[in-house]
Structure formats: structure tokens, C-alpha cells
């Protein structure tokens, strides 16, 4: 079996395990390439029809092209799409122009907390991968979170011989990461093989493309001439920069700036 099929098999196994164990399961769809690939795998796992809802945490600051893409494929694929927004925080005018840390916390974390409380989800499928970021390398396929969303990475269940811990205590939920073992280039090769749709933000426009997408306020494109999937793969084969380099890693910087400003350093 080729490598992509092996990756696919492993992921579909985990997705079906998750569906078997959790009555209330949802897929967290960010509209990015990874969670869209995960959505594709879920559709394959259940022969084209998703037996659980798809949850989009909408900060209201996503790219127009992402909203268009979301609505188009929610319709085409007959998804049970739940859009979750922290309306209270948005009404207060929370945005990243004020405090980025607060913005992410309110519009992403708290919006998700509210959605989990409202819908009673016990398991959430996420498209994160180990190679994205150092801290994600420590993740498990089935990763428990407490009611405060705290992840205790020093106390995680072992996952040996494909045996997964999928029991969740009250007030907790389990995050399931079927793509954990994939790499960025695996995703693009799979997109290429399966002809999975993706937003054109990933393609070069005037010499730049987005390698990782989120809120338009906090993403920057990277220099690139790649105008199709083949060219993206060719570029990644020789790239030495980090996938998330264009993402505002500056939540901490914003905190730092506030502290320095108060002391007159900025």
C-alpha cells in the first residue's frame, strides 16, 4: 500500500473509533486545508454522508473567500453546519485591534466553550498535525480536556498498539486528532490525489500566498509563486521555513508590548 493510503486508513480507523465511542461528536472545521482534508476523510469513512455535525467557530474576522467556501461546500456536501460565534463579545467590540490575547480567547476559546455547553459535545474531531508546532508534537490521537480546556500534557493516556482512551469524565471532552501523523506535504499530496477542494487563498496572488489561514487580521502571506497544488508541493519539498510563520505568533508579543508600553519602553 502506498504511503497516502496508509495515512488515510489510519485516520479513517480513528474517525470510526471516535464515532463508535461518542454519542455527541462534531468535526471542528476551520475551512483550512487540514480540517477540509479531515472532512473529506470523514465523508469517506461514512460513505459520503456525515453522521455528525460540522462546527465552525466564526470570529467574524475570517477571509470573505473562507465564508464563501464554507457555505458552498456545506450545501454541496449536505453538511449539518453549526456556526458558533461569541455574540456577546462581538457586541462588546472585541477585536484584535485591542488585545490579541483577549480577542483569541473570547472569539475562539469562549465561542467553542459556549458551543460545547449548548450542544453537549463529548468528542471533537480536529485537524491538527504533529509537525505544525513543537507543542503539538506532544499530542495524542485522543486527548482529554478538562472543563477549563486545560490540557495536561504531562499526564496523558498512553496510546500503545492502537488502543485509545476514549472515556471522558463529566464536564470534560475529548479531542480526537485523526491527522496527527500527517505532515503538511502529505496533506497537499492527498489533496492532489483526491482532488479535494481548497480556497484559493493558498495560491499565489501577486507573488504571495497563504500557507496557513485563520483570521484575516492575523495572517500574513508568504512569498510564493505557486499557483496550483503541484507547484505548492514542489515548493514545500525545498522549503526551510515554518508552516505557521505567517500566522501571528504575536499573541505573546502583544502581551509583551502592553507590558513594555506601561513602562514607557514603547
Amino acid at each position: 500500500m502506498d504511503k497516502l493510503s496508509e495515512l488515510e486508513n489510519q485516520s479513517i480507523y480513528i474517525i470510526r473509533e471516535a464515532y463508535h465511542h461518542f454519542n455527541k461528536l462534531a468535526l471542528l472545521w476551520s475551512i483550512g486545508k487540514d480540517s477540509t482534508a479531515l472532512l473529506w476523510l470523514c465523508r469517506k469513512a461514512f460513505f459520503g454522508h456525515l453522521p455528525f455535525p460540522v462546527l465552525h467557530i466564526d470570529t467574524s474576522y475570517k477571509f470573505e473567500k473562507m465564508y464563501k467556501f464554507r457555505d458552498e461546500y456545506a450545501r454541496k456536501w449536505g453538511l449539518d453546519l453549526i456556526v458558533a460565534r461569541n455574540e456577546e463579545a462581538l457586541a462588546r467590540g472585541v477585536s484584535c485591534e485591542g488585545n490579541k490575547l483577549e480577542c483569541c480567547n473570547e472569539l475562539k476559546t469562549n465561542a467553542l466553550k459556549q458551543a460545547i455547553a449548548r450542544e453537549g459535545f463529548e468528542g471533537l474531531l480536529l485537524g491538527i498535525r504533529r509537525d505544525e508546532h513543537g507543542i503539538r508534537a506532544k499530542e495524542r490521537y485522543f486527548s482529554p480536556r478538562d472543563e477549563q480546556f486545560k490540557w495536561d500534557y504531562e499526564d496523558q493516556p498512553p496510546e500503545l498498539w492502537d488502543q485509545y482512551k476514549s472515556q471522558a469524565a463529566e464536564d470534560t471532552h475529548v479531542r480526537i486528532h485523526p491527522l496527527l501523523h500527517w505532515t503538511e506535504i502529505d496533506i497537499w499530496r492527498y489533496v492532489q490525489r483526491e482532488n479535494i477542494p481548497y480556497t484559493e487563498l493558498y495560491l499565489s496572488c501577486e507573488g504571495k500566498r497563504y500557507r496557513s489561514i485563520g483570521c484575516k487580521t492575523c495572517c500574513s502571506p508568504v512569498a510564493s509563486t505557486a499557483s496550483n497544488v503541484d507547484e505548492i508541493i514542489a515548493e514545500l519539498e525545498v522549503s526551510t521555513t515554518g508552516e505557521r510563520d505567517g500566522r501571528a505568533q504575536d499573541k505573546e508579543n502583544t502581551y509583551t508590548m502592553q507590558k513594555l508600553r506601561a513602562l514607557g519602553y514603547m
Binding site: 490575547l101 504531562e154 505573546e252 508579543n253 502581551y255 509583551t256 508590548m257 502592553q258 507590558k259 513594555l260 506601561a262 513602562l263 514607557g264 519602553y265 514603547m266
Partner: protein, 462 residues
């Protein structure tokens, strides 16, 4: 406690030599004064240039000149761009004393020392300080967060509070100090330490916001200032109680302080003089138009030539470098305050301040505009102000000379150090050299790569 540590360091950020003496003489710091009676008055010690805590503590911790550890200020530009970045222990080069000692099997502890966040892995515990964003991230090993949370430990006092109310600041400082003291005593008895260093940041904060008020005296806030120092002395007393009379001890500050006359918006001055052209919209202190800006600056007094081939979009040709620096120096020295007083004491060239890899002193011959990392990121000129002129950036400030809630600014010549059972080099002493006596006290050899030699202050500074 199983046995006292083999060496204890207590650092009080930004306590000037003169102020320490005055506080002792006035009876505000009896524990410190008692120590002096037996072991002599504090010595004066030189800080770093430009005089910023993160640079001073990075030099202390690595025993290296900033040209080698690469921390030149709280803010820097990303190599090859005008984007701001914030140097911390992750970008600092070279092992710190905790790591060096760990490599020799010593048990080490550090708490709250600037530029130790993010904490590196050591044989012991290292708790970062100022600019660490959360208890979850502040400590190595991370599990220490649980204890710190249990005592409501505060990484730092909140200067936003100080901007709004100095009275509230005093309360905030008191709680932060009390928690620090509690954590210090807890950790002192928790292990058999070889090296135990606790840092107090609040002394710097209170000097920033209340120094002038305290020197004027006779107000509630001035009383609050002296009361805070009495609390600091209380922490000294509680430390001495636990470690006894014989444990080798070092109490030091990293720089001095003086009252502010003006906060000087140096970027604005460079704009007035035609060196810097701001971008259409100013979003950061470096929102400049690189095609039209021949020079720019970062806080405090770090002036950069926008050199082609080195900067993101440099417009000064390498052959113009010397002439541009000469003219910039003249313009900086010509700067006068609204009363006609000169602002800048001297302007030092990078090669007279920063040492490139392989050198243990300034290298005049090394007038390379490029240089090897991290030396290459150093400012081309460092403007050192007369006392009272606090150099800021202020690209979009309304005017060049401002006064704000800040009352004190750093000075380089008058840090202080008091030791017991530790041999210090004689003559002039600089904070960078302290790694020598620390390693020596613990019988750990100081590598040849460390910059432990005494060198005179750059010309014009004294």
C-alpha cells in the same frame, strides 16, 4: 532546610548605590545595614550600555558582552526587516550561569531574573520573570506552576496600574513582594541548593514611578516609597534568618537611577533632522519609509544606519557608512532641550561597545558595518544621555520633549553590590564580570569564552 545553599544571590533591580546607602543611613533598611556593618558598605558597580535591565541581566547570566549574547534591548528589529521582535532567553546566545552550573552537577535555583523567560532546562528550578505571560509558561519544570498558583504568585507587578494610580501601584507592589518572599522561603527549604538566586523587580518599578516624589519627600506617596523599601529590607531579613551568618551571599542591583527631566522622543528628533521618514500610517516604532530613511532608532538611544545589504531595504551605500555615522553623531550631540541644555553626553560607536565573537574587548579595527551574528544586529551608534534625559522612540509623539507619569530613569555608573564570603575582582567592576566569582565560589571553571576581564568604560561616558 537540609543545609543552606552554597551561594545565595538576592538582586534588587535598579537600586542605585547612593540610594541604598541613604536608605540604610535613614534607618529604612536595618537588615541590610547590619550586613554592611560586618562585611563593609556596598561597592559601586557599572551596568551596561545602553542601560536596560534585560541587557544587564543577560550579561550577568552569560558572562558575555551583548555583542555575543545578542540582547541589546527590550525591543529589536527582526534581522533584515523593520518588524519588531522582543528578545528573550530563547534568542539569547550562550548558556546562562544556571545552565553552566547544571552541567557541572550543581543544583540551581533562579526566580524572577529578567531575561530568563522562557526558562531553559536546568538541574533544579528556573522561574522566569518580567514578560513571562503566564504561570503555565514561567517555570522549568512547568509543574512548578501548581505551587506558584497555590500562593497566588505574581510574576511581576502591573505597571498599567501604576499609570492609573500610584497609590494602587504601592498595594500591587506590596502583594507581589510578599508572594515573592513566600516563594523564596518555600524554595530555600525545598532542596539542597548549590546556587540560589532570587530577584526583586519592584524596586525598579517604584523608582520609575516615584523616585522624584520620594526625593522631594513629605507626601503619602513618598512615605509609601520608603515603606516599600522597608518591606524589601524585611525580605532581606527573612532570607538572612534562614541562611544564617556564614552562607556566601551577594546582594546587588543591575543599574542605578536618577530623576527624569524629560522623556526625549529620539525618533522624532531624527525625523526633524531629516534622517528618518515615517511611513504613511504609523503602526509601530519602526513604521518608517525605508527608501527615504537614512537612519532610525530604537529605545534607548540605539541609532541604526539604514545600510544597504544589511537592513531590509537599506538606502545608505556601504561607502557612505562612516560619513553618515559622523554626521549623525554631530546631530545627536547638537541636540538641546527646551532650556538650551545639551541632551546627549556622548555617542559611542558600536565597535567601541560591542565585542564580536572571538574578542574579549572592544575591537576598533572591527568597524565592520555587517559583522557576524549576533553582533550584526547591534546599533551603529549608541547615544548616551546626560542624567535626566530618558531616551525613548516616539515616532508619532506630539513633541520631542515630554513629561509623563514616569519619574526615574536608569543610570549606568551606580549599580551596587554587597558580598559576604565572595571574592570580587578589585578596581572597577562591571555586572558582566560577576559570572566569574559565582562560578569560582562553586568550584566550576569559567570557560575561556566568557568575557570576565575588566575593561574601561567607553570613552566619553565617565
Amino acid at each position: 532546610m537540609q543545609r543552606p545553599p552554597k551561594l545565595v544571590v538576592l538582586s534588587l533591580d535598579g537600586v542605585p548605590h547612593g540610594l541604598a546607602n541613604r536608605l540604610m543611613d535613614a534607618g529604612h533598611m536595618p537588615a541590610l545595614a547590619g550586613l554592611c556593618e560586618r562585611h563593609g558598605r556596598p561597592r559601586m558597580m557599572r551596568s551596561v550600555f545602553p542601560t536596560v535591565s534585560c541587557v544587564a541581566w543577560a550579561s550577568y547570566a552569560t558572562g558575555r558582552n551583548p555583542g555575543k549574547h545578542g540582547v541589546f534591548g527590550f525591543v529589536d528589529r527582526r534581522r533584515g526587516s523593520y518588524d519588531l521582535t522582543f528578545p528573550n532567553a530563547a534568542s539569547m546566545r550562550g548558556p546562562n550561569v544556571w545552565e553552566i552550573l547544571s552541567d557541572h552537577g550543581k543544583r540551581v535555583f533562579g526566580m524572577n531574573v529578567p531575561t530568563t523567560y522562557p526558562p531553559r532546562a536546568v538541574n533544579g528550578i528556573l522561574i522566569g520573570g518580567f514578560l513571562a505571560p503566564s504561570l503555565e509558561k514561567v517555570a522549568y519544570p512547568p509543574a512548578e506552576a501548581a505551587y506558584l498558583r497555590s500562593i497566588d504568585y505574581r510574576i511581576d507587578s502591573d505597571s498599567v496600574i501604576a499609570r492609573e494610580s500610584k497609590k494602587d501601584m504601592l498595594a500591587d507592589l506590596a502583594v507581589t513582594l510578599a508572594n515573592r518572599n513566600q516563594a523564596m522561603l518555600h524554595y530555600l527549604s525545598a532542596d539542597c541548593w548549590d546556587f540560589f538566586h532570587t530577584h526583586v523587580m519592584g524596586t525598579d518599578r517604584i523608582n520609575h514611578f516615584l523616585l522624584a516624589e520620594a526625593l522631594r519627600g513629605e507626601s503619602d506617596l513618598a512615605d509609601g516609597f520608603y515603606d516599600y523599601y522597608r518591606k524589601v529590607d524585611g525580605a532581606v531579613a527573612s532570607l538572612l534568618d534562614v541562611i544564617g551568618d556564614d552562607t556566601p551571599l551577594m546582594i546587588l542591583s543591575d543599574h542605578g537611577f536618577c530623576p527624569i527631566k524629560y522623556e526625549v522622543q529620539l525618533s522624532r528628533y531624527l525625523v526633524e533632522k531629516g534622517w528618518t521618514t515615517p511611513a504613511g500610517t504609523i503602526q509601530s516604532p519602526l513604521s518608517i519609509d525605508p527608501a527615504k530613511s537614512r537612519a532610525f532608532c530604537l529605545i534607548p538611544g540605539r541609532v541604526y544606519v539604514n545600510l544597504r545589504g544589511r537592513e531590509g531595504a537599506g538606502c545608505v551605500a556601504p561607502e557612505e557608512y562612516d560619513a553618515v555615522r559622523a554626521q549623525l553623531t554631530r546631530d545627536l550631540l547638537d541636540m538641546l532641550d527646551p532650556n538650551g541644555e545639551p541632551v546627549i553626553r556622548c555617542v559611542v560607536k558600536r565597535e567601541n561597545l560591542y565585542w564580536p565573537a572571538g574578542q574579549h574587548q572592544p575591537d576598533d579595527a572591527n568597524i565592520n558595518a555587517a559583522g557576524t551574528p549576533p553582533y550584526d544586529l547591534a546599533a551603529d551608534l549608541i547615544a548616551i544621555p546626560h542624567d535626566g534625559y530618558d531616551l525613548k522612540m516616539g515616532l508619532s509623539a506630539p513633541q520631542t520633549f515630554l513629561t509623563t507619569q514616569l519619574e526615574g530613569m536608569h543610570t549606568a555608573h551606580d549599580a551596587m553590590i554587597l558580598t559576604r564570603g565572595i571574592e570580587l575582582p578589585e578596581d572597577e567592576l562591571e555586572i558582566r564580570q560577576l559570572a566569574g566569582p559565582i562560578l569560582d565560589a562553586l568550584d566550576v571553571p569559567a570557560g575561556e569564552e566568557l568575557d570576565l576581564a575588566q575593561v574601561p568604560a567607553p570613552q566619553g561616558v565617565a
